[in-house]
C-alpha cells in the first residue's frame, strides 16, 4: 500500500512535466508575438500622434532649469547615457543653466522607487522630468499630474510609450536593434544553412520589440534556423547557464545571438568551456566595453551600438528646445543604431564610454 500510492503520485508528476513541456513548446510563437498595445494609435513601431494632453512648451530663459532624470537602474548602459546628458549640459552653460537631479531605483523592477522620485520632483515644480520606463502604467497617473502642473514629461530607453502626457520619447527604435542583428547575419552568411540560438532578456517589451525586429528580417531567410530561444535574465550568470544547456540540446548551434552583451558574454564563457571557441559566432547587443574588446580579440563577431551617449545628448537638447525655446518637438526623437564588427571596430571612439569633461577646466 505504501508503494502503490507513491507511484500514483509519481505518475501524475511525470504526466504534468510531459504536458507542461510539450504544450508550451508548441505555443512558443503565439505567446512571443503578443506584445499588447494599449490602444490603436500606439502599436509598436508606429509614431504616436500628438494629443494636447501634455504640458505645453515654454520659453523659460535666464533662469536655471531643474531637470529630474530617473533611469530604471544604475548600470553600465545608463552611466553612458548620463555621460551624454552631462556633456550636453556642460555645452549648454553648465550647472548655472541646468541643474540635474538623478535618482535611480534600487533594483530594475522597483517601480515604487521611481514613483517616489517623480512625485517629489512634481511637488518641487521641476522644469522637466525625464524617465526611463520599466512599467509605464504605474507611472501614468503621475504623468497626468505632472502635465496638469505644466511640467513636461519625457521618456527614454522605453520600448513602447503610449501615454498621451509624454511630450517626447527619446532613444532609439528597439526593434531596429533586432533588425540590425538579423541584417548583419543575413549579410554575412548569405544563403548558408545556419543554426541560431537566441538569449532573450526577461519577458517584456524590451525583449519583444528586439525580437519583433529580428524576426521581421529572418522570416524571409529560412536558411537560418532558430533552434533555441531562451530567456537569460539580462545577466552574465544566466547567460552562462542557459548557453551551457542550449549547447547540450543543440551541439550544432552556429550562431549565438544575445539581446544584451552581458548575456552574450556569459554565453562566451559557456562556449569556451565547451571547447567550441571559434565554432560558434557570437552577436551581442549594446556594445558595452567588454563586448567591444571581445570583437577586437575575435571572441564576438558583432554587436549593435545603440548610441547611449547620443541618447543622453538628445535628452537635454529636446528638453531645452521645448522648455527654454518654446519649440514643438516630435513625439519620437530617435537616433540610429550601428553595428560594429571586426571591419569597423577600430573606428569606434572609446571616449564614447566615459564622461569627457569640457576642455579648459
Amino acid at each position: 500500500m505504501m508503494i502503490k500510492k507513491p507511484l500514483q503520485a509519481a505518475a501524475a508528476l511525470v504526466a504534468t512535466i510531459m504536458v507542461l513541456s510539450g504544450c508550451s513548446t508548441s505555443n512558443q510563437t503565439a505567446a512571443a508575438e503578443g506584445a499588447p498595445a494599449a490602444n490603436e494609435s500606439c502599436a509598436p513601431g508606429k509614431e504616436r500622434p500628438r494629443t494636447g494632453d501634455e504640458a505645453p512648451p515654454t520659453t523659460k530663459t535666464g533662469k536655471q532649469l531643474k531637470i529630474g532624470v530617473s533611469p530604471t537602474a544604475m548600470d553600465t548602459y545608463y552611466k553612458r547615457v548620463l555621460a551624454g546628458v552631462q556633456e550636453e549640459i556642460d555645452a549648454s552653460g553648465g550647472e548655472s543653466a541646468i541643474r540635474l537631479d538623478v535618482q535611480a531605483p534600487t533594483s530594475q523592477s522597483a517601480t515604487e522607487d521611481q514613483v517616489r522620485s517623480v512625485e517629489s520632483w512634481i511637488s518641487q515644480d521641476y522644469d522637466a522630468i525625464v524617465v526611463a520606463l520599466y512599467n509605464e502604467s504605474a507611472l501614468e497617473p503621475l504623468f497626468q499630474k505632472a502635465a496638469e502642473r505644466n511640467i513636461p514629461v519625457f521618456t527614454f530607453n522605453s520600448p513602447i510609450v503610449c501615454s498621451s502626457y509624454v511630450v517626447s520619447d527619446v532613444g532609439y527604435d528597439q526593434s531596429e536593434g533586432g533588425r540590425a542583428q538579423a541584417q548583419w547575419i543575413v549579410d554575412h552568411y548569405g544563403s548558408e544553412q545556419k543554426n541560431v540560438a537566441i538569449l532573450e532578456g526577461l519577458p517584456g517589451p524590451h525583449t519583444s520589440e528586439r525580437m519583433r525586429g529580428f524576426e521581421e528580417i529572418m522570416k524571409d531567410h529560412p536558411n537560418f534556423k532558430v533552434v533555441a530561444r531562451q530567456p537569460a535574465g539580462w545577466t552574465r550568470e544566466a547567460g552562462l547557464t542557459v548557453t551551457e544547456n542550449i549547447l547540450q540540446a543543440h551541439p550544432d548551434v552556429d550562431i549565438l545571438v544575445g539581446l544584451y552583451d552581458e548575456m552574450a558574454l556569459g554565453g562566451l564563457e559557456a562556449i569556451k568551456a565547451a571547447g567550441k571557441e571559434g565554432k560558434v559566432d557570437i552577436i551581442g547587443y549594446e556594445n558595452i566595453r567588454e563586448a567591444n574588446d571581445a570583437i577586437k580579440s575575435g571572441e564576438f563577431v558583432a554587436t549593435v551600438d545603440t548610441g547611449a551617449k547620443t541618447v543622453g545628448a538628445n535628452i537635454i537638447e529636446t528638453v531645452k528646445s521645448y522648455v527654454a525655446k518654446g519649440k514643438t518637438v516630435p513625439t519620437r526623437v530617435f537616433n540610429d543604431v550601428k553595428v560594429y564588427d571586426k571591419t569597423n571596430i577600430s573606428t569606434f571612439d572609446p571616449n564614447d564610454y566615459v564622461y569627457v569633461p569640457p576642455t579648459g577646466k
Binding site: M2, D75, T76, R236, E237, Q248, A273
Partner: protein, 343 residues
C-alpha cells in the same frame, strides 16, 4: 557538556525504508523527473550534460549545505545572495589592484565569514529574529554593493590562479564539483558525527531544554551563521571565477533558491529535523529542472510556472507520504532523530 544522543546504525535500504525518509521520497521524485527528462530530450543523459548540471548546482548547493545547519537550528539566512555579490566584488577589486590572488581569496573568504558573524551576533546577542536580522543585513549588503560598485561590474579577471577555481579540472572533474563534494563531506561529518551537529539539532528541536542541559547555545548559533557566511564566500569565489567577472547584481534570489533546496530536501523550517542528503537532492532537482527547461526549449513565459509547480509537487508529495509513513506503527521511532537514522 557530555550529552550523548542515541543514533541508530544505518540500515540496508529496501524500497519501503527508502520511502520512510524525506531524502528517500525526494530522491524518488528526483529520479522520476530525471527519467521524464531523459525520455523527452536525447541530450539529457549525456556525460557532458550531467557534468554540466552538476557544475550548475554547485553555487546554490554549497550554501544550502551550510544553511541546513541554520535552518536545522530554527533560524534562516536571507543575506547569502548579498554576501555572494559583495565578497565577489571585493575579491575582484583586490585582484584588479594587484593584490596577490591567494591573499585576495583569503580576504574574500574572511569577509564572507565576517558577514555571517554579524548576522550571528545580531541574532544571538541582540535577540533579533533571524528573519528580520538577515533581511536587514541583506538590504544593507545590497545597498553597500551599489554604493561601492556604482552599479558597474568588475571585469577582466583573467588570472590563471583565479580562473582555476571555477573553470579548472582535476582528472576530468570540474574543480567546483570537487569543492562541492568536499563541502558536503565536511558538513555531513559535522552534522552527524560531531557533538556540534547533535547540539545544533537539539537546539532546533527544543532550545530551552538544550540550554538547560548545558549545550552552549550562543556559541553554536553564532558559529552556524559564520559557517553559512563562509559557504556564501566559497560559492562567490567559484561563481566569480567561472564568470571571470564580479557583477553587482550577481546571486539575485540565491537566498530563496537556497531555502527551496533545503526545504525540498525535507528539512523542517521549524528546526530540529535536517536531511543534508535531502538538501543535496533538492539542489540537484532544481538544477535538473532548469536544465531540462532549456533543453526542451520551454517557452519563456512558462518557465517560472514549471519550476514553482515542481517545487510544490515535490514538497506536497513528501508531506503526504511522510504523514502516511508516520502513521504506520512499525516505522515510528524517536521522532526528532528519525532523520539521523538513515544515511
Amino acid at each position: 557538556m557530555n550529552v550523548k544522543l542515541a543514533v541508530r546504525e544505518p540500515r540496508v535500504a529496501s524500497i519501503p525504508s527508502l520511502l520512510s525518509t524525506s531524502a528517500g521520497r525526494i530522491f524518488l521524485v528526483f529520479a522520476l523527473v530525471v527519467l521524464a527528462l531523459g525520455i523527452s530530450s536525447p541530450a539529457f543523459f549525456t556525460v557532458d550534460n550531467i557534468v554540466n548540471v552538476t557544475r550548475q548546482m554547485v553555487f546554490i548547493s554549497i550554501i544550502a549545505f551550510a544553511a541546513s545547519f541554520v535552518i536545522g537550528l530554527g533560524g534562516i539566512d536571507l543575506s547569502v545572495g548579498a554576501n555572494v555579490a559583495l565578497t565577489g566584488l571585493v575579491m575582484a577589486d583586490l585582484m584588479l589592484h594587484g593584490v596577490n590572488i591567494y591573499l585576495a581569496i583569503a580576504i574574500g573568504l574572511l569577509l564572507g565569514a565576517f558577514y555571517g558573524l554579524v548576522n550571528g551576533l545580531l541574532i544571538n546577542r541582540l535577540g533579533i529574529a533571524p528573519f528580520i536580522a538577515t533581511l536587514a543585513t541583506m538590504i544593507i549588503g545590497r545597498g553597500i554593493i551599489q554604493v561601492y560598485s556604482g552599479g558597474i561590474p568588475k571585469t577582466g579577471l583573467r588570472f590563471p590562479e583565479f580562473e582555476y577555481w571555477g573553470q579548472g579540472l582535476i582528472l576530468g572533474v570540474p574543480v567546483p564539483v570537487i569543492i562541492m563534494v568536499l563541502a558536503f563531506a565536511i558538513c555531513f561529518y559535522l552534522m552527524y558525527r560531531t557533538k556540534f551537529g547533535r547540539f545544533n539539532l537539539s537546539i532546533g528541536s527544543n532550545r530551552e531544554a538544550a540550554r538547560l542541559v548545558g549545550i552552549p547555545v550562543a556559541r553554536i548559533e553564532i558559529t552556524v551563521y559564520v559557517l553559512t557566511g563562509l559557504a556564501a564566500a566559497v560559492s562567490s569565489l567559484l561563481l566569480t571565477s567561472r564568470l571571470e567577472a564580479a557583477m553587482p547584481e550577481a546571486a539575485t534570489n540565491y537566498e530563496l533558491d537556497v531555502i527551496a533546496a533545503v526545504v525540498i530536501g525535507g528539512t523542517s523550517l521549524i528546526g530540529g529535523r535536517v536531511s543534508l542528503l535531502g538538501t543535496l537532492i533538492g539542489a540537484a532537482l532544481m538544477a535538473v529542472v532548469r536544465n531540462g527547461i532549456n533543453l526542451l526549449n520551454v517557452n519563456t513565459f512558462w518557465q517560472q510556472v514549471v519550476i514553482g509547480s515542481i517545487i510544490l509537487i515535490a514538497i506536497a508529495y513528501d508531506g503526504i507520504a511522510g504523514r502516511r509513513a508516520r502513521r504506520t506503527p512499525k516505522t515510528v521511532s524517536a521522532p526528532v532523530h528519525r532523520e539521523l537514522a538513515v544515511k
